[in-house]
């Protein structure tokens, strides 16, 4: 049920994620009276303009410091480098914060965000909307209730040629963004794995960074229950974009971003069952609707009608795992390189890997 007074929203960062995701989601919720976009914040007038056209009644500002924060929902969608500073400022001003993934560039930054939330008593949510996909929720149910038996292994392949419309090269500069594909799409993948399975007992990690950011990486994970998984991520070549789970009595496949669809083949079935996931009332929830669902969870929590599904304490877990990966990093074998090139690659990876 929409609140009597729409929640005022401040959208910080008017780049691609705001244009393609937040703008349509906020437009829908504004039309339903759930919220009201009050202020758009971005230091770039060029970035502000397209969003200002979508929300003509919203104020425009170059700095979050100029906005009134108390009782607002502040959405942080600026580059990750600025997440911690903006989030802490908003929390201290009495706002609820929904911070886009990755929550921060480092665990240390994310911890300061959690401390600020605790000290201020304000809510901090993290934008990991794939947890709201019916397919991901169903997988959690299959893993917990085990109707197909216990999980034995899984493989995850995600990524393709990089297509995100980056507005600058800061996304690819290691001094601005400390990680590549793992810190980008890997945040979602590792968040889902942590949500589904908990912490791995051990992991091996390798990537192809040669002084810069990795474009490919591979993680092997072992879990306390005996399940073993392999994750391969790429922003270089087209992967299958598929998660495959081998249970004792069947196989389940989830296609990346196919929010309400799963493929299941149980023992004894000669064919693959491929179908849509519907609510008991026969409604499908798509990828965009899952994004909206995340926003509704935050606004409902602000009203005391729900609890946060992805609070900051959850958001930081994938960052911790990412830092564990980078700390144990090895160079991926690249067998097409010549002997001399391999030697140079190993040298570059070891001398500049932590630059």
């Amino acid at each position: 049920m929409p609140p009597a007074n729409p929640i005022p929203v401040i959208l910080v960062g008017c780049g691609a994620v705001s244009r393609f995701f937040y703008a349509p989601a906020l437009t829908e919720l504004q039309s339903k009276g759930v919220l009201r976009v009050e202020t758009l914040v971005d230091p770039s007038a060029a970035n502000l303009q397209p969003l200002a056209e979508v929300f003509p009644n919203a104020g425009k500002s170059a700095r979050l410091e100029d906005a009134t924060l108390a009782s607002r929902l502040v959405i942080i969608a600026s580059p990750p480098k600025f997440h911690a500073q903006a989030t802490i400022h908003a929390l201290q001003g009495g706002a609820t914060v929904l911070c886009e993934k990755p929550m921060a560039n480092t665990v240390a930054e994310a911890e300061t965000m959690l401390e600020a939330a605790k000290a201020s008593g304000s809510l901090l949510a993290v934008g990991l909307y794939k947890r709201f996909f019916p397919a991901c929720e169903s997988l959690k149910g299959l893993l917990e209730k085990a109707p197909l038996g216990h999980l034995q292994s899984f493989t995850i392949e995600e990524g393709g040629k990089f297509g995100w419309q980056a507005a600058s090269d800061s996304f690819f500069r290691k001094n601005m963004t400390p990680g590549g594909v793992l810190l980008d799409i890997g945040v979602h993948v590792l968040d889902l794995l942590l949500w589904w399975f908990g912490e791995p007992a051990s992991l091996n990690y390798e990537d192809d960074a040669l002084g810069g950011q990795e474009a490919n990486c591979r993680i092997e994970l072992d879990y306390p229950g005996g399940a073993r998984g392999v994750v391969r991520l790429s922003r270089d070549w087209q992967t299958r974009n598929e998660y495959t789970f081998h249970f004792e009595r069947g196989v389940v496949r989830y296609k990346v971003n196919d929010a309400n669809h799963l493929e299941i083949q149980t023992d004894g079935m000669p064919a693959l069952l491929s179908g849509s996931l519907l609510t008991p009332r026969g409604v499908e929830r798509s990828n965009p609707q899952s994004f909206i669902e995340q926003l509704l969870n935050v606004t409902a929590t602000m009203q005391g009608l729900a609890s946060l599904r992805v609070p900051g304490e959850e958001g930081i877990r994938s960052l911790r795992l990412i830092e564990q990966c980078y700390a144990n990093r090895r160079l991926m074998p690249m067998p097409w390189l010549t002997t001399g090139e391999t030697k140079a690659a190993l040298h570059l990876a070891s001398t500049k890997g932590d630059a």
């Binding site: 040629k161 990089f162 600058s168 996304f171 810069g212 390189l337 090139e341």
Partner: protein, 363 residues
């Protein structure tokens, strides 16, 4: 030697960046069109430049301080021609000494007649618009360099394969999904060149003084059929060649939109186009954008597991009966392909494993 590499994010460009960053002889300045093109080269810390490859003044700034430029950018037919002009003018403005251009053996067609070499006259009557655009791009570069200060060297490779190439990845995918096919058993010649051999030719073209003003056909040392090329990939994937269907060359009806596009790209049309009112041009573009090709269907047909996949380009290539010669490149550039075919395929297949392309039933 400091090289500006236009098209550094493509398949050849990516390997060139990798090779030069891991070697000692060339310092590379990658030049790409968009920030998102930086994703793979960002593995290295590099002084990349992001600019429109059809904007001579922006390119000239990107080329500043470079000794030479390598043009490895791809585009549609109109872009191919425009880039040739822009990149040459930018190189001249930046006082670059030499421009090495990745042209294509398709200037002679995908299945050139026996006897074809660099002396064979070029024409613009190819079926494929890409070929004609490459011919026109070479002519533009020859015309500009005849009166300009930048030396131009053009390389004409054919099927460039290796890690990340479509000839490896797409063929593997087609073999895996059962859609691979060969024209007439694949007995035609695959004029392949392993990507490292092409880069070796580029390196020679950058340095050999006598190369200036010349075009060179470049390929691997061996003569290989398409069947042999497919067989090596199929073997690596554990797939029998009996799954690869042999077909007669299909006829490719050129869609209406493509025919209009080809017509619009002709030099004569380009002269006339400015005379057509903008309103009419916009209306035509709108109509074309919404044009639906008729799609006849028949539900009373047995569905094959997967349809055979081929393209017009591949169909033409798989009818080639002539091994394009390397003799001129050998004589003037001193080109001797450094990677032999078996090793080239081994490295390519190792990349397939790296990329995770495998046969699920054999793993």
């Amino acid at each position: 030697m400091k090289i500006a590499l236009v098209g550094a994010s493509g398949f050849v460009g990516t390997r060139m960046v990798e090779r030069w960053c891991l070697g000692d002889h060339f310092e590379v300045v990658p030049v790409v069109r968009s920030f998102s093109s930086l994703a793979v080269m960002a593995r290295f810390e590099l002084p990349w430049q992001v600019c429109d490859s059809m904007d001579p003044s922006a390119l000239a700034k990107a080329f500043q301080g470079c000794d030479a430029v390598v043009h490895a950018a791809i585009g549609d037919p109109a872009q191919i021609e425009k880039m040739a002009d822009s990149i040459y003018r930018a190189a001249e403005a930046a006082r670059v000494k030499r421009l090495v251009v990745l042209s294509s053996s398709s200037v002679h067609g995908q299945a050139p007649p026996p006897g074809t070499d660099e002396t064979s006259p070029l024409h613009e009557r190819h079926v494929m618009a890409y070929n004609n655009a490459k011919v026109r791009a070479e002519k533009i570069l020859n015309r500009l360099s005849a009166s300009g200060s930048v030396e131009v060297v053009m390389l004409r490779p054919s099927v460039v394969y290796g890690p990340r190439s479509r000839w490896i990845a797409d063929t593997a995918r087609q073999l895996l999904d059962g859609s691979a096919c060969l024209i007439r058993e694949g007995t035609a010649i695959c004029n392949g060149i392993y990507v490292d051999n092409l880069i070796q030719a580029v390196e020679l073209a950058l340095q050999v003084p006598q190369a200036a003003g010349q075009a060179f056909l470049v390929g691997d040392a061996e003569s290989v059929t398409w069947h042999a090329f497919y067989q090596i990939i199929a073997n690596a994937l554990g797939i029998g060649m009996e799954t690869v269907r042999s077909i007669e060359p299909p006829v490719f009806p050129h869609p209406f939109k493509e025919r209009v596009g080809n017509f619009a790209a002709l030099p004569a049309t380009q002269i006339v186009l400015p005379l057509i009112p903008g309103k009419l041009k916009r209306l035509t573009k709108l109509l074309l954008a919404n044009w639906q090709e008729p799609t006849p269907g028949n539900v009373w047909k047995l569905r094959p597991e997967t349809a055979c996949t081929t393209t017009e380009e591949l169909t033409l290539l798989q009818q080639c009966q002539w091994q394009l010669p390397n003799q001129k490149a050998q004589a003037i550039l001193g080109y001797q392909p450094e990677v032999l075919f078996d090793e080239a395929m081994r490295r390519s297949l190792e990349w397939l494993k790296f990329a995770g392309l495998r046969n699920p039933s054999t793993n």
